[in-house]
């Protein structure tokens, strides 16, 4: 029976491209020694410790343990977007403390994991010019969304956005964040999507949750 189970698991591993990558330990976000990627710190053992701390976290939710960036960002602008572009906040601010390249990956609260900042051209580097990236952190109200629709950006209703089973949605304050499209803890769709931590197997599937065709 055990061997049958083992064969079944092995079979899943073969036929399921993202097998195992739904655990953060098996993703490139694991910067500890056990991480599968090339960017990691041999001296660090704890998988969660690059982002989280159990105590003295800032912000307390989600127990954030990495030094935050104080950068000012160039944000997205489009004539077809009625929402006012804002500086990244919420979860996006947390992602950018590594991905804007201004803070060392190893600059953790209370310790230094001896891992430098992402550099321009390296995978995952976004820099501080986000004018080409999907806008984040603006609050979506129905009035704003109506205006967006009128301006040429098709938007689903708030209720419609909240109903996606894969978690493509706004945050608790109805803001778009990096985490609306990316799941930082699971890279199960990467083998198909080719985009790290993408919430769905296909690129467009994520877009179409909020932007109906």
């Amino acid at each position: 029976m055990k061997s049958l189970f083992g064969m079944a698991v092995l079979g899943l591993a073969v036929v399921s491209p993202g097998f195992g990558q739904d655990s953060v330990a098996n993703t490139v976000h694991n910067l500890a020694r056990s991480g599968p990627g090339t960017v990691k710190s041999p001296a660090v053992e704890d998988v969660c410790g690059f982002c989280h701390v159990p105590h003295t976290a800032s912000p307390a939710v989600p127990l954030w343990g990495h030094t935050l960036s104080s950068a000012t960002y160039t944000v997205y602008h489009s004539d077809s977007m009625a929402s006012t572009a804002v500086q990244p906040n919420g979860a996006s601010k947390l992602c950018l403390c590594c991905h804007d390249g201004t803070i060392a990956l190893g600059d953790l609260k209370g310790r230094n994991a001896a891992l430098g900042a992402l550099t321009k051209g390296s995978k995952g580097y976004l820099g501080t010019d986000l004018s080409g990236s999907h806008p984040v952190s603006m609050v979506l109200t129905q009035a704003v969304m109506d205006a967006d629709n009128a301006a040429g950006t098709p938007l689903q209703s708030l209720a419609g956005m909240a109903g996606d089973r894969d978690g493509v949605r706004l945050d608790t304050e109805n803001r778009v964040q990096c985490t609306s499209c990316h799941d930082p803890h699971s890279d199960k769709n990467y083998p198909i999507s080719g985009i790290h931590f993408w919430r769905k197997p296909k690129f467009s599937e994520v877009c179409l949750v909020c932007h109906p065709s």
């Binding site: 997205y76 080409g132 990236s133 296909k202 932007h211």
Partner: protein, 337 residues
């Protein structure tokens, strides 16, 4: 009724969101994090658009990568990109085009915007005015081609028969656009200067012919012009004097003068200068009648009058036949000195 509804729905489904033609959907154009300044696109403009609209080789690659259906047949503007008169070097397709497409626009009067152009524009000229707002046609000119408004009245004997009247609306793209009618429509490029559909010489000293001023003659009957039906000295100026239409007329509007005359404009300083009394004016004195006080092609028009019933003070023969191009022609020559 259902068929009408269906037509409306079909008109509201723009090509770029037709997933049958673009199976790559959003990913055919977008990435989550594009290059700075581009709206979630991995490359700049026009390269982004030319991946599908820039010739068979590039399109084949997009089909091969699964972004575009082999049967999509997008408009190919690769031949335009090699033309000398390129619309702003095609730097920004999105300045005119809405990549996601627009619903069928309302047509209130005159002519509406072209399919695929930006939704906020009710009329094509509004789109053009976004960049060309300084053009006199977008100010409050004294005379104009009927792009924004129709003339309240007027007598236009040179208009070709066959439908054009003083009440006919004109789109910018009636004159401006690709010079080869077999290529996709659009104001992308032309072999002619000023992105005109047809040739139109603006320098003096050119022998008059149907092709020399083909753009003007597209609407204005050449025979009527040369038979002086509108201006009694057209033939004298155009044929004998080899004066271009542009020297006297602005093809968009006359800022201060009737008949789209531009002779007072600074833009004509290279060919028109004050007369011996320091005047550079045109005064309309009646229907098809006026007085010119200026110096042009070396001739001092010292308050010269014309009109259907008024003979020119000087004989037409005194207008010299020009053999040289405009830049070689001395202006404001005072022959009395």
């Amino acid at each position: 009724m259902p068929s009408i509804l269906m037509l409306v729905l079909l008109a509201a489904v723009p090509g770029h969101r037709d997933w049958g033609k673009i199976p790559g959907q959003c990913e055919a154009c977008h990435v989550g994090h594009g290059i700075p300044g581009m709206k979630m696109a991995p490359v700049g403009e026009p390269d982004l658009c030319l991946r599908c609209h820039g010739g068979a080789a590039r399109l084949t690659e997009m089909v091969k990568q699964g972004y575009v259906s082999a049967s999509a047949a997008p408009q190919d503007i690769s031949r335009e990109t090699a033309m000398p008169s390129l619309h702003d070097n095609l730097k920004s397709c999105s300045a005119c085009h809405a990549g996601h497409g627009i619903a069928a626009p309302p047509y209130i009067s005159g002519k509406g915007p072209k399919p695929g152009t930006k939704r906020t524009n009710q009329f094509e000229y509004e789109l053009c005015a976004g960049c060309h707002g300084g053009n006199p046609i977008f100010q409050s000119p004294a005379s104009f081609h009927s792009v924004r408004t129709l003339p309240k009245s007027g007598f236009f004997p040179s208009l070709k028969s066959g439908g054009m009247t003083a009440r006919t609306w004109i789109n910018c793209s009636d004159c401006h656009g690709v010079s080869d009618a077999s290529l996709p429509r659009g104001v992308h490029a032309s072999v002619n200067a000023h992105l005109l559909k047809f040739n139109d010489q603006t320098l003096d000293g050119q022998a008059e012919s149907a092709s020399t001023y083909a753009q003007c003659y597209a609407c204005h009957d050449r025979n009527s012009i040369l038979q002086n039906e509108s201006f009694s000295l057209h033939q004298t100026h155009i044929v004998n004097g080899m004066t271009s239409c542009y020297s006297c007329h602005d093809s968009h509007a006359g800022r201060t003068l009737p008949h789209l005359l531009a002779i007072e404009d600074e833009s004509r300083n290279d060919r028109i200068s004050p007369d011996l009394h320091g005047r550079k004016t045109y005064t309309q004195t009646g229907n098809l009648a006026g007085v010119c006080s200026l110096t042009c092609h070396g001739v001092n028009h010292d308050g010269w009058a014309y009109g259907p019933k008024t003979s020119l003070r000087k004989q037409e023969a005194t207008v010299p036949v020009l053999k040289r191009r405009a830049q070689d022609i001395p202006v404001a020559t005072d022959k009395r000195k």
